[in-house]
Amino acid sequence: MKKIYHNLKIFFLFSRYSLRSTLDHRAGVFFFLFGKILRFSFFFFLIFLVFSKNQLLNGYNFTQAIIVFLTFNLIDTATQMVFREVYRFRPLVVSGEFDFILLKPYPVLLRLLFGGFDFLDLVVLFPLCFLFFYFLFQLPSINLFSLIAFFFLLINAFLISTSFHIIVLAMGILFTTVDHAIMIYRDITSFGRFPFDIYRKSLRDFLTFIIPVGVMFSFPPKALFGLLSFQNTIIAFLISLISLFLSLKIWQFALKKYQVGGN
């Protein structure tokens, strides 16, 4: 208990410093927020445009497609907010500063995952939530059960995202020539921006069972629309546990393989 309290205290200090560093670069704050809002509105508009040609998108109506899109943005923004430090990992390895982190008496992995809470994403998260609830109430039928399933599948998505981020960290150690492992993750997850049923079956299966992006982004809204079977819900939780376990193994392996930082 004392340990958890201690780690939380460190986490809050890190977050406070990260906020102060952010506010030091005011132009950066503006561009970041502006860019995010711009990209969000553009994709929103793109979905609108697609529906201007069509009433249904492989069985999804406009509201449903928007809810898929908003769910994607919620998970995407929340995970960026929490895992922002992962984006800064490679420079740490390249410059050798990673050594200093290894020397500190705190859980190294937690520090690398959560050490850079991003307040700018928090700012983006509020209007997203508002939009989400707005469109949620446009749905003709929602019941409590599907809402609860949605909520737990969101948490599940967060767990899967955690293991993705751990693997990205491990790649940062193992493949020092790759400078955008995190962006590869981002691009793969961007399949989740649109309803999964627009993809071919083989791709869908690959993106669900091999790289569980589908479980992250397509399962929660499906549960919300009452389209997800109970069996698949159980599979979703199993997949997240397996991926978490595997990613931790990979991380431990990477740490042993860590050679020299810098130079």
């Binding site: 410093y17 050798g96 050594d99 020397l103 008496p105 860590y258």
Partner: protein, 325 residues
């Protein structure tokens, strides 16, 4: 405190086969023996200098001892721990300072980083205050701790790094090139600080440096590493007795010596009235008395070989021996 038996480290370096598919899927690795069965132990309150050419394995050794790197073989015991486990109780008792590497938060003041370390290392308020004031007064820099790191000079930044690293009162201190890139005044200030700090607080310090002056002034014990092997482990004084076969004699002459004289001795430099000779160590007494008979001089001094020369020789001899082994 530190005990190392047969410590070995093998690096895997992947090399290109100039075939895209092979390079990605069937990588081939070359193994490089970075440390070859090192054995040594370090006691409390020792100040040890690690010396050796680039890539000899000094930093690798320190990184294994501090738990950053995983050893490929051998036994290691530091303060009763296996370093790689990274137990908090272990990490709280050590510190590592690397020259030209920044661990302080760039945009914020040093004090912010100190406060962060206070939490991380769970230093209680009283101790934090005491250590901070001790360190700032020793380094004479209390006016700097509230300025943003990015506004400090390199030397000033190094002082802040040292404070941040020492705040938790570590028992073992690893210093990797702490004076690299600094101007001579900052170098001097840091050397003086380390000397007083070690004396006053009785720490165990392990230091590597390219500047022999650092080691010469600070370390009583010297470990020379070359190509992953320890080739000398002992006191600084001993190294000269053991390895320096020659001494230098400097003379200030009154008269020009005869031509025969030059045939008899190995003259390094002669520019009347100054004469420099090189002499075997064991013949020194005999030759000095001989000289007073043969020539007239105003004064005479006998010097040891400079330590840099001795170490260069040791490393060179070691390499030659390895070749013929």
């Amino acid at each position: 405190m530190i005990k190392v038996k047969n410590l070995t480290k093998i690096y895997q370096v992947y090399y290109r086969q100039n075939n895209l598919i092979k390079d990605i899927f069937f990588r081939k690795y070359k193994e490089i023996l970075a440390l070859d069965r090192l054995n040594f132990s370090i006691k409390e309150n020792e100040f040890v200098g690690f010396i050796g050419p680039n890539g000899a394995g000094k930093t690798t050794t320190m990184k294994i001892l501090s738990g950053i790197l995983y050893p490929s073989g051998g036994e290691i015991n530091v303060l009763g721990f296996f370093p790689f486990d990274k137990k908090p109780e272990f990490l709280k008792q050590i510190t590592f300072v690397m020259g030209q590497r920044n661990q302080l938060i760039w945009d914020l003041s040093a004090m912010d980083s100190f406060l962060l370390n206070k939490e991380i290392y769970e230093i209680d308020d009283a101790l934090f205050k005491k250590n901070l004031s001790d360190l700032t007064s020793l380094l004479n820099c209390s006016s700097l701790i509230n300025k943003p790191i990015k506004s400090l000079s390199l030397g000033e930044r190094m002082k802040m790094e040292l404070i941040a690293a020492f705040l938790h009162d570590p028992k073992i201190i690893f210093l990797d090139e702490p004076t690299i890139g600094l101007d001579i005044f900052s170098q001097e200030a840091i050397r003086n600080f380390l000397k007083t700090y070690q004396k006053e607080f009785r720490k165990t310090i392990i230091l590597t440096s390219h500047y022999l002056e650092d080691v010469n002034r600070l370390a009583k014990r010297l470990i020379i590493i070359n190509k992953g092997k320890i080739i000398y482990d002992g006191s600084l004084k001993n190294i000269i007795n053991l390895y320096s076969k020659e001494k230098t004699i400097r003379l200030n002459l009154e008269k020009q010596p005869s031509k025969d004289f030059f045939k008899k001795y190995s003259v390094i430099n002669y520019q009347f009235p100054r004469l420099i000779l090189k002499v075997k160590r064991d013949q020194i007494n005999q030759i000095v008395s001989q000289l007073s008979d043969e020539i007239e001089y105003v004064d005479i001094t006998v010097e040891d070989e400079p330590i840099e020369e001795v170490i260069k020789k040791i490393i060179k001899n070691n390499e030659i021996r390895e070749k013929y082994d």
